[in-house]
């Protein structure tokens, strides 16, 4: 074996020590070269701040009568009022809290589950892999929104259930992607080295395989956060997500649709909030993929 290919017996991939700073530098460089990614990060940060400081930014309570119903923007109600006379600006501000809570929690639960199941599926192979992948096949063949609707109809609409349902929706595709990444890790020399010093399968998966598929998981998380926020608003719009009178953006668009006289403003602003947030995650996710997935680098 040549000098260059010698692997430390501890099984720890030493080159990581050198790869890390390089990656960070590349990341900063890419952010500067790709301003859309920076814009995305900025938008995400802005929406996050809005969510955290909502009580300071809002001008009325979320269910408070704040002016004549169904009015356009004015000095009192910056985004106008909805059919109940609630202040749309304040509701949109508080809506950021719900979107981020549902988005972050559901993606965390979904991706962590997908990470464990996918790594195990790819690493162990054999019948474990076959069984898991057939379930994934079935879940992917199941039309996604219909699956979510059926489960949420079973559990009942509530914030907790929306989080669970979106997490369930995330698991199959994440499992599939992580499995592929784990499969690639499985035959790496350091895994063989770890095995040769007597590390157990569980230890190898937990300490070696999972940490090495994490970059893939990070890219998935960013893209999925936008998708999860979209899913929450769609479910709430259909009346099977966050129950009204909570200030979910989807709920507010749905309310505006059923109000008379028609007030376009009431639909416009919550939708802009959703689009902006999702746009932020998509811009940022695209850039992140360019940085972390070398195969695609230079392609765009």
């Amino acid at each position: 074996m040549s000098e260059a290919r010698r692997v430390p017996l501890s099984g720890a991939p030493r080159f990581e020590l050198y790869a890390r700073p390089g990656r960070l530098v590349t990341a900063l460089h890419t952010l500067r070269a790709n301003p859309l990614g920076a814009v995305g990060a900025g938008v995400i940060l802005l929406m996050l701040l809005v969510a955290v400081f909502a009580p300071l930014l809002a001008r009325y309570g979320i269910n408070q009568y704040a002016g004549v119903p169904s009015q356009g923007p004015s000095a009192h109600n910056w985004f106008g009022t909805d059919r109940f006379g609630q202040d749309i600006y304040s509701r949109v501000i508080y809506g950021a809290r719900i979107s981020f809570q549902v988005g972050v929690l559901s993606v965390l639960i979904g991706v962590l589950t997908g990470l464990v199941v996918g790594s195990a599926s790819g690493y162990f192979g054999g019948w474990i892999d076959t069984v898991i992948q057939r379930f994934v096949d079935a879940a992917i063949a199941f039309p996604q929104l219909i699956l979510l609707l059926i489960i949420v109809r079973t559990l009942g609409p509530s914030m907790r259930n929306v989080i669970i349902v979106i997490a369930i929706g995330i698991i199959p595709s994440t499992t599939r992607v992580i499995r592929g990444a784990a499969l690639a890790q499985k035959n790496q020399l350091y895994v063989e080295a770890a095995r040769s010093v007597g590390a157990s399968d569980i230890r190898i998966v937990a300490r070696h395989v999972i940490p090495n598929v994490v970059p893939v998981a990070i890219v998935i998380v960013t893209t999925l956060l936008g998708a999860a926020i979209l899913a929450e608003s769609a479910l709430s719009f259909l009346g099977l997500g966050i129950p009204p009178p909570n200030p979910s953006w989807g709920v507010d668009i749905s309310t505006s649709r059923n109000s008379f006289p028609i007030n376009v403003w009431a639909a416009l602003f919550p939708g802009i909030a959703i689009s902006l947030t999702v746009l932020g995650f998509n811009f940022f996710g695209d850039t992140l993929r360019d940085v972390l997935d070398p195969r695609l680098r230079g392609g765009r």
């Binding site: 859309l36 057939r134 063949a141 649709r257």
Partner: protein, 315 residues
């Protein structure tokens, strides 16, 4: 090859079986009586008992499941618990609506997505390229149900205009009303698929334009148009066609929200109402139909590859 095809069909059957068990159980585990939900609180106990008997709801799950499979095998999809009509009748009336919506969406996607993807790749880093890329990210970020809501609300508030909302129109007997009814929703649905097709076409074209045979074609002195259309485009379209196929099979069942908003009497609206009312026969049939379409089109695409790309050999 034959062994591969047989194995793939067996796999497809297995997947559909898992889906059938899943939808069967998911609809039932919640408890609560679907019949009371469907017949209303005023229904007499005798009436409820009768419906229970008609739909075999008092049998244990495994008996109900076996009965369902038996009926499906002879293409008997049962009766709606709500309206009492045969599911297959409703289905035949609604499939054309969803199918036409899907075709029109496909039309917009191809007509807009592919040409703009090509322009974006050929004029890389130009103003049109940036415009296409920004549009594509917007198309993927903006919620379709919001655009649909605005598309209905803005003309209604400003000009008192509304498309036909309460009937099913036919493209053959009343084409104008039909276009007014299905044009807007198909455009809204196409936003997302246009965006992803643009991006995919662009990245595929960029990859192919760097290939040696494209350089050779240019070196031969062929004009740029011929190089792009004959040499580059042809080779970059295979994955684009794949994704189009998968998108469309998903659309057939996935247009739930848009059909709901535009009040189109298609399959999406059918299954949404069925899920809300726990109409087992309807929900199960439509889920099985959409899952079967998805599984079979994936299979068809994989097999089609062999003909499109002679380098691929399955064993």
């Amino acid at each position: 090859m034959t062994r591969y095809v047989v194995r793939r069909f067996a796999l497809a059957a297995l997947i559909l079986w898992v889906v059938s068990v899943a939808v069967f159980l998911l609809l039932r585990v919640a408890g609560g009586d679907p019949v009371i939900l469907q017949q209303g609180m005023s229904a007499t106990p005798e009436r409820i008992a009768q419906v229970h008997k008609d739909l075999n709801l008092d049998d244990p799950y495994y008996v109900q499941y076996a009965l369902w499979l038996k009926h499906m095998a002879v293409l008997d999809f049962g009766h709606s618990g709500v309206t009492g009509t045969e599911v297959i009748h409703e289905f035949k009336a609604r499939l054309p609506v969803s199918f036409q919506l899907m075709l029109m969406t496909l039309g917009w996607t191809i007509l807009v997505g592919i040409p703009f993807g090509i322009i974006s790749a050929v004029r890389r880093n130009s103003a049109p390229d940036y415009a296409v890329r920004v549009f594509a990210v917007f198309g993927l970020s903006v919620p379709a149900f919001w655009v649909a809501t605005l598309v209905l609300m803005i003309p209604a508030q400003n000009w008192g205009y509304a498309p036909p909302l309460n009937e099913t129109t036919s493209i053959f007997s009343e084409p104008w009303a039909n276009i007014r009814q299905l044009g807007p929703p198909s455009l809204v649905l196409a936003l997302g698929s246009m965006a992803s097709i643009m991006r995919l076409t662009r990245s595929q074209m960029l990859e192919v334009l760097r290939a040696d045979y494209v350089r050779t074609a240019r070196a031969k002195g062929l004009n740029e148009r011929v190089v792009v259309v004959r040499h580059a485009l042809r080779n970059s379209l295979v994955p684009v066609v794949t994704v189009l196929g998968l998108q469309m099979s998903g659309l057939l069942g996935g247009s739930v929200i848009i059909e709901q908003i535009f009040n189109l009497r298609g399959l999406g609206q059918f299954i949404f109402a069925a899920i809300l009312q726990k109409d087992f026969a309807v929900a199960q049939s439509v889920v099985m139909f959409t899952a079967a379409t998805a599984v079979l089109s994936t299979l068809a695409v994989d097999l089609l590859y062999v003909f499109l790309d002679p380098r691929i050999r399955y064993s």
